[in-house]
Amino acid sequence: MKSVTRSGKRRQGRPVAVTTGLVLALTLAACGGGRGNEEAAAESGSLAEVPGFDGETFTVPMLTVTSGPVAAAAAPNLAGMQAYIEQLNAAGGIAGKYPIDLVVRDTEYNAGKAAQAYDSVKDDAVLLGNVFGTPIVQSLKDRIEADQLLALPTSFAADYVHHPALMMTDAPYETHLLAGVDYAIGQAGGDPTVCGVGGEGALQETVTQALDYGSKEAGYTVATVVGIPPTATDFTPYVQQLQSADCDVVGIVAVGEPTVAGLLAKASQLAYAPQWVGTSAQFVASMQDSPAFDYIAENYIGIGATTTYGDVENGGEAMEKLVAAHDEFSPDVPPAYQFVGGYAAMMAVDKLLTAAVENGDVSRAGLRETLASFEELDFEGLAYPWTWGEPGDRVPPSKYLVLKPTKGAPGGQTDVERDLDVPDYVVDYPFPEA
């Protein structure tokens, strides 16, 4: 399992001899006509060495969470990424000849530790394969931009849709929340009252803004948006707040798996049964073991853009490869919905680096140029594609699917409806410019 990971080729010191050699080599190179690496590489037909690429291997650091309460949510995503890279390296790597070296750093979901981890990897990174969690992305995005790096966030914040340093591969919260509420209203019929639940603070504001937009555009009534702190353990007051507001449809965004499980279990106890609508990351496989699972299965739907694990009918050849990668490289990891998301994200990295190799420039600027030249970010059936291009032109997937908790299904979810169109007013949502 360790073959693709490493501690980084971080030299702890520079012996005098090496430094002297380097100075001599640089002097000779300068005397030899001052050719840059790229020129010399172009003449020899090979790629120039750049930070994160030593001429043979690409180094892709991952700033993820492997310890603490958030680790369970990050694990399947990371496992999917690792499986893709293992499979890719087994076939020779990028363009069949440049393997990828994944360097995993644990941020513990703490911005301070993430900054320190970033410092330890940024100088030897072709791009950041993963930055897990909205607070972590938020804390690092300006530095990533200043260093001209690219990063794939595991975050669904709308702020990142048009960010030049960030390469989102899943739809933002707003798209799925609004599409899900629209779907639930259509299913319920009549004029149901809509409410929202978000992590206390910034995410509660995100839900409020999105639902305000939805109520203006689609005409439904929003009664309340409840903020739940991550430390909450007793969910009675939050359920009572929703109950007293007569909420029929409740959209949930970014409150963490323990909170979702606790909230739904408490609602079950209090015999309160609205239509709960979560975004794809809200349901995790362990919720199948909840004593309230029957209630959850009946009253909860998830909205996603990623095909469910093992759905070869819709995922096609890519899903067959994914399942094979899982069985060969991550057999001990229970297959989960987020595994597919991680695998698809690395597919995007593969496509970007392959195109950059073809262009002959894998530098940070070269990668950005190559990325901007993509018209579409296609996941070959594993997820709905993004409209791509320059940062300001990027549009999240215009299709979505509806997921239902299903006991025994891989990841505990199956899709009940697919290829639904995201309503036009949701596609037109005013995502902030970076």
Partner: protein
């Protein structure tokens, strides 16, 4: 009879330096040279990522130096240092980023603000001691947690805020010293701050104030009886420790460029506790050694998680072969280190050094006695 009066400046009466004094001067010159070489030579030897880690070690050493004065000298058990570091960090981030304050002005402001807040905390603390004081200091951390999370217009709330403020002083950018990268520059800046504060702490220890604080630590009532103003010295120790903490906060914000309330929570307090216990609480050198060993080791293990022998012990993926994830291991490691140090050498690394020195001296004495004995037999 004429009396000849000679002044001390007269070469005839000026005491000639004794060999011991001469060797003391030589030792000091040598130590200064070693420190200077380390300060300026290290950035040339290590890569930027290692220098960044070492700069963080400096910030933690600086914060711990405050505890050296407060807990080590004055005997006041407080774990609220992260609160004062947080105040320094948020003040610098807010005024530096939003109002473009000069870093020199920021430094003065955060040191004064930290000192005033520390003195206020000291006013409450003079009535308490031991475990009660520790509990009150936990309350201060909780207050900081609330303040940093809720005062969103200044702190950015739970999502944190940018701390990317300029470090320029009159055309000299401290983050880009001539011929140096950002990491090299910040290494020099942070360790220079540590050096200066450590020298101040060392000087205090040798002066009247330090002796008074240590008297309070040993027996408060007895110190009062011999005329030491216990209240004033306690408040002074709190003010000084908090001012140093706030300065550490400024440097922490400058290094990290983004701060969140999690940076100044109870976990950070435990880290500081581990640093001073492992290094040795009553010597400035203890704070430095503790920061290097506890924080530095933690970062070193983090960056070698996939290398032998850590790959067998630690896991970086779900389903990986390791026994535990890196974050859990580091908590375990810090706890284990605390237990081992407290059981084996409660004075920390500095105590261990002193013990080794005594041992070597005793060997020296024993060797001399044996030699004398041999000489006697021969004669």
């Amino acid at each position: 009879m004429a009396t000849v009066v000679r002044s001390d400046t007269d070469p005839a009466v000026r005491p000639r330096p004794t060999p011991a004094r001469r060797s003391g001067v030589v030792r000091r010159v040598l130590a200064a040279a070693v420190v200077l070489v380390l300060l300026l030579g290290t950035p040339l030897y290590f890569v930027d990522s290692t220098l960044a880690t070492l700069a963080y070690c400096a910030v933690f050493a600086l914060g711990a130096l405050g505890l050296t004065i407060l807990t080590g000298y004055a005997g006041q058990l407080s774990i609220a240092q992260p609160f004062f570091i947080g105040v320094g960090a948020y003040l610098s981030a807010y005024l530096g980023v939003e109002s473009g304050w000069n870093v020199l002005a920021l430094t003065v402001l955060v040191v004064v603000a930290g000192g005033v807040l520390g003195a206020l905390a000291g006013l409450v603390a003079v009535r308490l001691s031991g475990i009660e004081l520790a509990i009150v200091s936990i309350a201060l951390i909780a207050f900081g947690d609330y303040l940093f999370n809720q005062w969103k217009s200044v702190t950015g709330g739970e999502n944190g805020r940018s701390a990317a403020f300029s470090l320029e002083i009159g055309g000299l950018d401290l983050a880009a010293l001539p011929g140096m990268t950002r990491s090299q520059s910040l290494f020099v800046v942070c360790w220079t701050a540590v050096l200066l504060v450590a020298l101040v702490a060392r000087a205090i220890r040798r002066q009247r104030a330090g002796r008074a604080m240590m008297a309070i630590r040993e027996h408060e009532r007895a110190a009062e009886v011999i005329g030491i103003d216990v209240r004033a010295y306690k408040i002074g120790a709190f003010a000084l420790a908090s001012a140093i903490g706030a300065l550490a906060g400024l440097l922490y914000a400058a290094l990290q460029q983004y701060i969140t309330p999690l940076d100044f929570d109870l976990n950070t307090a435990v880290l500081f506790l581990a640093i001073v216990v492992v290094g040795g609480v009553d010597r400035p050198l203890g704070a430095v050694l503790g920061a290097l060993l506890v924080y530095g080791a933690v970062q070193w293990v983090s960056s070698h998680v996939d290398s032998w022998p850590f790959d067998a012990l630690l896991s970086s993926f779900q389903g990986d072969a390791g026994l535990m994830p890196i974050g859990s291991f580091l908590t375990f490691f810090t706890g284990l280190l605390l237990i081992v140090v407290l059981l084996w050498e409660p004075q920390g690394l500095v105590g261990l050094g002193a013990r080794a020195k005594r041992r070597i001296a005793s060997w020296d004495v024993a060797a001399r006695l044996r030699r004398d004995h041999r000489d006697e037999e021969t004669s």
